[in-house]
């Protein structure tokens, strides 16, 4: 079975890729026509980003997608806060919560997870990010260096799992606990599936030991296949593979590229802060020497590396007709991909569109 996730826009949502303004969720207070919060009779209407996040989660469930990746950055709303808030009003949606081990003590992470597993009936999934690194880590108040952070992640997960199955004693480099355990009535629940991100050698080595699923941004398919091979080579038991893919699919290929053309013409130069992320550097390397036209970034048919110019996030995604996008997804599955995290702007309408027009066309990895 293949798990198809959708993304949840913790940073607010754009109306389209035409304009880079997050008009949904209160991140652009002056955007005309803004929603959640909006304006009614000249005053804020009392709705919040959470109300719109709930709509997207419910649309995601209904579209045939199993849940959502909830990213966590300095400029986003917090995934633990949103998942805990939306537990009771969703029924199937899996909350893939992104977090860095440095945020929480592993005992606290175990307690929060067990509480949320209980509240959701076991719908918590982890996206463990060991950290983008660089000066931005000190924004979070995290002093641990890049490569040490993977050692911390390893110890964090050891303690978290130890507490989960506690009682547990531990004295390590980063953590110490004595007789740590969950209360009886919160223990015995399934431990969340772990999606593990990171493109550096330290990350790949750690992924081999701790990931249920190794999660990569979309890259040109050959590069992706090499990366998976590298992870397999570092793993006694290879993890599953997951890819995070933006999709822009329309009835015809021309309609899809027309959307891109609009956004490309209106794009503004921006500076982004990525610390010492190896994933970002890899993404840029695939586009070295590309021209200024938007089609210059189509590195192989329907694989386009300009999304980062039109919205926050990674560069690569799929652009094409419903049938083309479905065919490219089938090719990814044939590469050995087990899970996909799809995304589109706006997240609400595009979840419905992909559910209605692309998912039914998928043939699976045997195609």
């Amino acid at each position: 079975m293949v798990d198809l996730y959708w993304r949840l826009h913790m940073e607010g949502d754009q109306t389209s890729l035409h304009r880079r303004v997050n008009s949904r969720g209160g991140f652009a207070p002056d955007a005309p026509g803004r929603i959640a919060p909006g304006v009614r009779d000249g005053a804020p209407d009392g709705f919040t980003h959470l109300d719109y996040l709930a709509e997207v989660a419910l649309a995601t469930e209904d579209a045939g997608l199993v849940g959502g990746l909830m990213p966590s950055f300095p400029h986003t709303d917090d995934p633990w806060a949103a998942a805990a808030s939306l537990a009771a009003e969703t029924s199937a949606y899996r909350f893939m919560i992104a977090f860095q081990p440095g945020f929480l003590h592993p005992v606290q992470a175990a307690r929060m997870t067990a509480t949320l597993q209980r509240a959701t009936g076991g719908r918590v999934v982890f996206n463990i990010i060991s950290g983008g690194g660089g000066p931005s880590q000190l924004w979070w108040g995290d002093r641990v260096d890049h490569d040490d952070r993977y050692d911390r992640t390893a110890e964090f997960l050891d303690v978290l799992k130890g507490v989960w199955h506690g009682p547990f004693d531990h004295k390590g480099r980063f953590y110490q606990v004595e007789n740590a355990k969950l209360p009886d009535w919160l223990s015995g629940q399934p431990f969340p599936e772990i999606f593990f991100s990171g493109s550096s050698p330290a990350a790949i080595a750690a992924a081999g030991r701790h990931a249920d699923q190794y999660l990569s941004w979309l890259e040109p398919f050959d590069a992706l296949a090499e990366k998976f091979a590298l992870v397999r080579a570092h793993s006694a038991t290879p993890p599953k593979f997951a890819v995070r893919v933006d999709v822009l699919a329309r009835e015809t290929e021309d309609e899809a590229w027309e959307e891109i053309r609009h956004g490309w013409a209106a794009r503004a130069a921006r500076e982004t802060e990525h610390g010492d992320s190896v994933g970002v550097q890899r993404g840029e390397s695939f586009l070295a020497g590309a021209g200024d036209g938007f089609r210059d970034r189509e590195v192989q048919p329907n694989v386009w590396g300009g999304f980062s110019e039109l919205r926050d996030g990674p560069a690569f995604g799929l652009v094409g007709s419903y049938a083309q996008v479905a065919a490219r997804i089938d090719e990814l599955l044939a590469l050995g991909v087990d899970s996909l995290i799809l995304a589109g702007m706006p997240h609400l309408e595009e979840a419905r569109r992909i559910g209605a027009h692309v998912l039914p066309l998928l043939k699976g990895h045997l195609s």
């Binding site: 207070p29 959470l50 806060a81 009771a88 606290q108 949320l116 740590a180």
Partner: protein, 271 residues
């Protein structure tokens, strides 16, 4: 007598549920959240709010508070936690989202003086007065990143560089901070950081904490005695009552329908 606020302590575990006779159709759904129904009851009953206690043998309070905020319209929801559970920046980040989601109804109750075995089981081996210094740094940083566009801090326990929440608008007010304790360290921390200093017993002396509201944790006995205690305590300046009232949700209705109207007969009560 000045206005008083009535809050209740949320249950953090489920009460036992009896077996039904085998021939009775049983559609009882799995119980998922002991806090949510209690929060809804407190809200419906017009209480000022509820506090989700730190209970090592119960549900985690921040996750439960998030669900409680989503289930309520008016009630304030305080999550009690100790500083070692998270970094101060992450505590602020998570809480800022909850404030954005709830129109600013989240509060913090910071537990500092944990039992030694409980603290060690939570992974916290810091002891003695150092715990108060760490709590002070924790609150200074959380408040600092909440309001500052760029925040730097170098302390005994924490370091932050170029911090500061990156929402386009302020995410609402910083959570109201509840602290407690009677040691000199505890009172110094409250003087610096508390909005409400909570007394654990009715006979505790009212500390000299200018600008800090005094609260009292109180078990609900019978209504006459509880009413009398509240009047007595309000007369000496206690403004916030955290009532340990079991079982919830039932007791929330009792407070809303009976205690608050009684208190209101002679003075103003804020739910």
């Amino acid at each position: 007598m000045s206005p008083v606020e009535i809050h209740v302590l949320a249950p953090t575990r489920f009460p036992d549920r009896p077996e039904l006779p085998g021939f009775v159709t049983d559609v009882r759904p799995a119980r998922r959240d002991p806090v949510g129904r209690a929060a809804r009851a407190a809200d419906l009953a017009g209480l000022a709010g509820l506090v989700v206690p730190f209970d090592p043998d119960g549900v985690e309070s921040l996750v439960s508070a998030a669900g409680a905020l989503r289930a309520t319209r008016h009630a304030r929801v305080a999550a009690e936690f100790h500083p070692a559970v998270t970094t101060p920046v992450y505590a602020a980040k998570l809480s800022a989202s909850l404030q954005r989601f709830s129109a600013g109804r989240l509060d913090w109750k910071i537990a500092v003086d944990l039992d030694r075995a409980v603290a060690r089981a939570q992974g916290d081996f810091l002891e003695g007065p150092a715990r108060y210094r760490r709590a002070a740094e924790f609150l200074t940083i959380a408040k600092g990143v909440w309001t500052a566009s760029s925040f730097d801090f170098d302390g005994e326990f924490y370091q932050v560089r170029a911090g500061g929440l990156r929402f386009p608008d302020a995410p609402g007010p910083f959570p109201r901070v509840y602290l407690s304790g009677s040691s000199p360290e505890a009172l110094r921390l409250s003087a610096e950081h508390a909005d409400v200093h909570v007394l654990d017993t009715a006979d505790q002396e009212i500390p000299d904490l200018p600008g800090v509201v005094v609260g009292l944790r109180l078990a609900l006995t019978d209504l006459d005695a509880t009413e009398a205690t509240i009047r007595e305590q309000a007369a000496r300046g206690v403004g916030v009552f955290l009532i340990d009232a079991a079982p919830l949700p039932d007791a929330a209705y009792l407070l809303g329908e009976s205690l608050i109207p009684r208190l209101a007969r002679q003075e103003t009560v804020h739910g």
